[in-house]
């Protein structure tokens, strides 16, 4: 029997220590000497406590502090200049929410008229009871009975995808799920990658080959799930049935019945509302879909391991590269992950050329 089928034990990679101590010393001296020309910055990467500029004309932004008319960095990262605003963007750190971000989060607490949601930020985000769609129509007021049964909609541990609606003054993000593409997540698995690897784009939810879909949260929380067949989706059926009803009403009476067709959007919300809070998975998830989901899981882990930015195209290329491994179990090995990422990079070079 091949040992590698059971366990793979490798030696840790030797630490590459190529920092020359002499150079380092002279560097520090350099840093401590204030620059005459304050408009040119020594390097775009700074460490905490390093002088960024001594020109008081700059406005201090995130990641900096101001002392005796000089601006210092408070994090390790890249200097960013927008007009007169000077900030340092940290290389690593917690996810910083921005309005409009599509994120995946997990409920941590049910509180007064709101849910607390872990989205990987410093403080848990909040999802107000008023920011979700509830059964009974989108436009109705939230009543006391809704408050009492909040745990029936979302409870501790539940995963959802949502959009950052606004950032409060204290830095806490407020979320909303007022769209059919947001809400509780089902039929799949969850994984985390560093949020810095997720590249922001217009869309963060993709259908991938192999009947698998992904919600690639900007916060680095990812949900892989079985693609919902478009023709069978609740939303579409209700639309079609409403349309046919509408047509039927036109046909039979020969006149337009007000209310029949016009409620379709409200009806759509109503009919799907309880369903969007269901905990039941699709009973028919085939083994091939399940296997594909694990494949994508490993591809995403490989991208994260090799610190490659994650995009739809790279996920698909990684998936195609992973198909070369017939023994799917070997995908968790370091070598396999590196080779998949190498394939992706080569592929991109070829396309770029």
């Amino acid at each position: 029997m091949d040992t590698n089928e059971v366990i793979s034990i490798t030696k840790p990679e030797a630490l590459v220590n190529d920092i020359d101590s002499d150079v380092e010393m002279s560097d520090i001296e350099d840093i401590e000497t204030p620059k005459d020309n304050s408009n040119t910055f020594k390097s775009s990467i700074v460490t905490p406590g390093e002088l960024v500029t001594d020109d008081p004309i700059w406005m201090k932004g995130h990641g900096t502090y101001f002392l005796e008319d000089k601006t210092f960095s408070s994090v390790a990262g890249n200097i960013s200049r927008v007009n007169r605003l000077l900030s340092v963007i940290p290389l690593k750190g917690r996810y910083q929410p921005e309005t409009g971000d599509h994120i995946v989060g997990r409920i941590t607490e049910v509180a007064n008229k709101r849910w607390k949601v872990d989205i990987g930020t410093k403080q848990d985000a909040v999802l107000m009871l008023g920011s979700v769609n509830l059964p009974g129509g989108v436009l109705r007021r939230k009543s006391e009975s809704d408050e009492l049964q909040m745990r029936n909609f979302l409870k501790e541990g539940d995963l959802l995808n949502a959009e950052v609606q606004t950032i409060f003054n204290n830095g806490i993000a407020s979320l909303h799920t007022r769209s059919l593409k947001y809400g509780k997540l089902r039929n799949g698995i969850f994984l985390k990658v560093p949020s810095s690897l997720v590249i922001k784009s217009k869309n963060h939810s993709y259908d991938l080959p192999g009947n698998v879909s992904v919600v690639l949260g900007v916060n680095g929380y990812i949900w892989l799930y079985k693609t919902v067949a478009k023709s069978n989706s609740a939303a579409n059926t209700s639309i079609t049935s409403n349309t046919s009803k509408f047509q039927a009403s036109v046909d039979s009476s020969g006149s337009y019945a007000p209310g029949q067709g016009s409620i379709s959007i409200t009806r759509l919300e109503e009919e799907s509302s309880w369903e969007i809070y269901s905990d039941k998975n699709d009973p028919n998830i085939s083994n091939s879909v399940r296997t594909n989901i694990t494949r994508y899981n490993n591809v995403l882990k490989a991208l994260s391991y090799c610190e490659l930015g994650i995009t739809e195209q790279r996920i698909i290329m990684g998936y195609e590269a992973s198909l070369a491994y017939s023994n799917i179990g070997s995908l968790i090995d370091k070598e396999a992950m590196e080779s998949i990422c190498q394939d992706i990079i080569n592929n991109e070079k070829m396309r770029g050329a």
């Binding site: 607490e109 049910v110 745990r151 409870k155 501790e156």
Partner: protein, 298 residues
């Protein structure tokens, strides 16, 4: 109106007659385990009583051979803090301080340096002024907790906690010699489990089944149920000991399993034999517990 700032003792307290001799004879004080009579089914007779602790929601007392065990169940009690949809369940098992625990030098890091003048005493501070549980106590607690967990209908008690406290008043391994085999440990775990199950039933907490347990030793291909552990000097070659806990009315599902022993002769068939033995014993114990409860109802 009573003083609410103080914890008041139970109303029906009795002050013990301390220092009055009961004229106990040597034989009364310690009826050696050998004096325990065995029934025709091979088990030792055991004494069982429930409801002895008024303050607890359920309690049980068990004597078998030289083992004396007392269990109290508290709960379901409400818990504060974050919401949980099922009750949390914990077991804490303690030996009385003067009882020697089976193989304690080995597991509890109580390095007793006989002959050495530097008598540092037990490192775990267990003998007197002990802090937490010893490793052995923790291990028995975990065994009981794991085995009872599947039997309790925890989802009936959201935001609650159910706690079991076990006190071992006496064990038969008074001589914790140099024995390497943990038969004594398995033996006591077995009876602690049976006693805890009875206490759970007594508490009225909803159960899927009463977990009962059996312990068996296979020595030179001879199966012995409920072995007595007295002779630490005996050689333990080719001995396998096993405690298995079952839910006998739910397809004999195994909820607790712990096997120790010599490794030189060790076949799957022997494990089967041991499980069968333990199942036999578990069923006997179950029958006894059932008849105890029906008799208390009459």
């Amino acid at each position: 109106m009573s003083d609410r700032r103080r914890l008041i003792g139970p109303l029906n307290t009795i002050i013990p007659n301390i220092g009055i001799s009961s004229n106990a004879t040597e034989a009364d004080v310690f009826k050696g385990p050998s004096s325990a009579t065995r029934n025709e089914d091979g088990l030792r007779q055991f004494f069982l009583k429930t409801g002895i602790i008024e303050n607890a929601n359920g309690s049980a007392y068990l004597e078998v051979g030289g083992n004396i065990i007392q269990v109290s169940v508290f709960g379901p009690r409400p818990i504060r803090g974050s919401f949980v949809d099922r009750a949390s369940f914990s077991v804490e098992c303690k030996f009385l301080p003067y009882i020697s625990q089976p193989n304690e030098q080995l597991y509890n890091n109580t390095t007793v340096n006989a002959g050495s003048t530097a008598n540092t005493g037990p490192t775990n501070a267990n003998a007197n002024g002990r802090t937490g549980l010893t490793n052995i106590e923790q291990k028995i607690s975990s065994y009981i907790e794991t085995a009872l967990l599947p039997s309790i209908v925890l989802e009936k008690y959201p935001k609650s906690t159910i706690d079991i406290f076990v006190t071992i008043l006496s064990t038969e391994s008074s001589n914790s010699g140099s024995t390497k085999v943990d038969a004594a440990l398995l033996g006591i775990s077995n009876w602690v489990l049976n006693c805890s199950s009875v206490a759970l039933v007594d508490s009225g907490i909803e159960l899927k089944d009463v977990v009962t347990s059996g312990v068996a030793t296979l020595k030179n291909d001879k199966l012995l149920l409920d072995p007595e552990v007295i002779s630490s000097g005996e050689d333990n070659e080719n001995t396998l000991t096993c405690v298995v806990s079952f839910m006998n009315l739910r397809n004999d599902e195994i909820v607790g399993f712990w096997m120790e022993g010599d490794q030189s002769k060790f076949e799957e068939s022997q494990v089967e034999q041991l499980i069968d033995g333990c199942n036999n014993m578990s069923r006997q114990v179950r029958a006894n517990i059932n008849s105890y409860f029906t008799s208390t109802l009459e």
